[in-house]
Amino acid sequence: MTDQTPHRQTEANVVLRQIGKPLERSDAEGKATGRTRYAGDYTMPSMLHGRVLRSELASARLKHLDASAARNLPGVLCVLTADELPDRLAATDIPGQTGQKRASTDRQILVREFIRHHGEPLALIAAETPAIAEKAHDLIEYEIEPLPGVYDIDSALGPDAPIVTEPDNIVGQHKIRKGNVDKGFAEADHIIENTFKTQFIEHAFLEPEVGLAWVDENGVINIRMSTQVIEHFRFIADALGVPHNKVRILGAMVGGGFGGKEDITVELYLALLAQATRRPVRLAYTREDSFLGHGKRHPFVISHKTGVTKQGKITALEVNIRADSGAYVFLSPYVLLYSAVAAPGPYRIDNVKIDSAAIATNNMYTSAFRGFGAAQACVAYEAQMDEIAKAIGIDRFELRRRNFMRTGDKTATGQTVESAIWSDECMTRALEALGEETKAEEPVKIGRGVATYQQSYGRITWLHDTAEAWVGIEIDGTVIVRSGVTDIGGGQVSALSQIAAESLGVGLEDVIIYHSDSAVTPLAGTTTATRALYMTGNAVHKASSILRGRMIDFAANELDVQPDEVDLANGQAFVVDDPSNFISLTDLAARGASEGLQRSELAMFRAPFTDPIDKETGQGPVFPDFTYGCHAVEVSVDTETGEVTVLKSVGAHDIGQAINPQAVEGQIEGGALMGQGYALSEELIYQEGKLVSPSFSEYLIPTSMDMPEIKTIILESRSGLGPFGAKGIGEPSFTPVAPAIANAVADAIGTRVFELPITPEKVVKVLSQSQTNGDLEQKLNKTPLLED
């Protein structure tokens, strides 16, 4: 076998009793019975209802706004406009306790004069009922004067382009320089150049943004809401001009996030309305509000120029990346950094030159979305790999094998990857799992494609990420975990419970977790960047391991043996060589309590801390670690109508160690379908910056009728930086899917659609353009496919 053969790096004496088992998630019952309370399910006596008035235009000047009629409507408690707010801005940067200086990403809270995107809030309303709030919304009179805007990145860079926000329309740039690309291209036998484009897409979580805010007796503004990030409380406090300890954010189980609940949404408006009215206020976005009210996935234009030898060795890579950041910066600079670092893919390339830029327009702002720029990069580099293979006449899987990074290799930024790199193994397994090729008759063709990837988990290392967790054992032996992590549906809190249960030798049902309360639960950072398990999992593991040691020491004393002879399992501390010599955890905890034993532990986990990379060369470590894997698909393409059907979809990923394999499969299956929507059907259409149809009847996420046969393959190198050697899978499960589908379609039809989504119409168009080979023309009755 080759050096990629999986080998388990298991520590010999560790017996895992809960980790790696497909346990029923701790949150499953509450959700399956409908008893789980989401943020929108909380009410309070004398609660008011909020509403946001939004701009109908994308680039305009607010000439005048008159809310007097709305204010005079009985039942309206307040209407806030920019005039009622201090001239303060709201930060849109990465939140958290990093203490790092942030980029200048502030934006206005409500429009004061200039409207920069469709849906930008003009006024906030609080009223006794939703109907009155709606009526007040319709009674606000305002006049806006359209202004010239910029709606695509090319015109935004033009000499006379309107500037969205001073000083210019370039809001973030990154460079990576490694080796010497001129020398690399000189060594190449072939140079292949292509440009790939991706579209705006929407997170489409099922639960629209919602929250409930109230001011308590201490003057603290409490906000119970649906968010991935409770630690925006600091930005909210800053925007309101109150101390950080006067804003508290409480989460609830989140009805989907995917990055769309990473930025500030309703909490800022809730805080303002609660502060203004001193009454509880509920604000629930409609689906239209949700489409207009949070950032989207960046559309990218990515050009690859690749030098490659006859043998298929890549000698040089030059990549130019441009993305539409929309009207406000938000996380665009970070997204563009991710895309630049990801741009070479999981390949060993000695000579690399990458430039990325985020460009402001008057489109909706773009920010975090599962894959975070690295997904768009993968759409390009994996399509490019197939195009290279085609151009030089080499098998596309073999081409990948000849260039894959291997364990111990360095990334393009010079960071040595310490964990296993099993791209090859994952690809082999995914291809195997596709099985027999499906048969089809003309005019339907079958195609297959793969995409491999390199995707970080954990935050950028110079953000100095930390997470805290508290673990305690009650006097009856049950376990409590407290941590500020939010659960956005991926099983984040269940995984933490499972880690505590493993360490302390109790069942998952014996653990209760309190989570996502910025005032009460130790702060764990955000549920973003595929970091929750890695960061908070390590914090819980650390706290529970310390507690475990303390309980074992105490038990050893009670059992009259040495601590290294004792294990904890099944609710008991027992002597490993003589399990009949045991003490129940219940008795142990009770005895410990009477002896004053500390039965709790607060632990902080720190990710690797680094300095920022070099600005000119991009050299240096950027991320804690990376996940590697492969997605393979089989599609059928109707070459006459252009309809694409995904038949089989296989995700094979080295995730280090599955904490709960069932939850991991769930991530991969969900990623498979979300990626399929990205590849084939999803697209937000902006016309002059205006979102044409903010609705699920026009924005088409895959339905049950679109589901292919999905298989998941979990490989475990146990080499990750997470607890028990885990890596992350939340974002990686999504990233390779769309390029795999694009490659399968190209394989089926022999030509490529270079721009997502691959609609039936685009398929027909590229087929029509490639009709020169004649046989296709004959097949299609010698009539042109399209008239244009």
Partner: protein
């Protein structure tokens, strides 16, 4: 503005009166009544998160006017689980890992339950058709299908509540 009327209905077998004006939807009224398992996802019949059954027939409660259900029996997810033993669908959703964020789950179980009363041998096409009005963004539907197949098996073998 039309007057508010008291609309007598049965919710999960228990008689209640829902106070509603002509333009109020069953979704809003049920949630005001405390049936928070009925979720608001789009208010225009695109997502199915608000699905409930009226006389056993699954409908989008966002597209149902409360006045039009006068005297009818309304069943929500809660009503499918009204015994000590979880409904086989609910048990299967838990066991199969068919629940992630859980927001679509109540509507999906309500839609699936209607289908299982029509056939206990559903093909994958039957399941796909039954769920075509319920969007899920987390799961890729795969484990949802597995859960529905499992529940069908349990019900075929007489493992239901009845």
């Amino acid at each position: 503005m039309s007057l508010e009327k008291a609309i007598p209905v049965k919710i999960n077998g228990v008689p209640h009166e829902l106070l509603a004006r002509a333009n109020e939807t069953l979704l809003d009224c049920l949630r005001q009544h405390g049936q928070f398992e009925v979720k608001n996802g789009c208010e225009k019949g695109d997502c199915g998160a608000c699905a409930v059954q009226i006389e056993g027939e699954a409908v989008d409660s966002c597209l149902t006017l409360t006045w039009t259900v006068e005297g009818r029996s309304i069943t929500t997810l809660e009503g499918l689980n009204d015994t000590n033993k979880p409904h086989p669908l609910i048990a299967a959703f838990m066991e199969q890992g068919a629940v992630q964020c859980g927001y679509c789950t109540p509507g999906i179980i309500v839609a699936a339950e209607e289908m299982l009363r029509e056939t206990l041998n559903p093909t994958d096409d039957d399941i796909a058709l039954a769920l075509s009005g319920n969007l899920c963004r987390c799961t890729g539907y795969t484990k949802i299908f597995a859960a529905i197949r499992q529940a069908a098996t349990v019900l075929r073998e007489g493992g239901g509540n009845d």
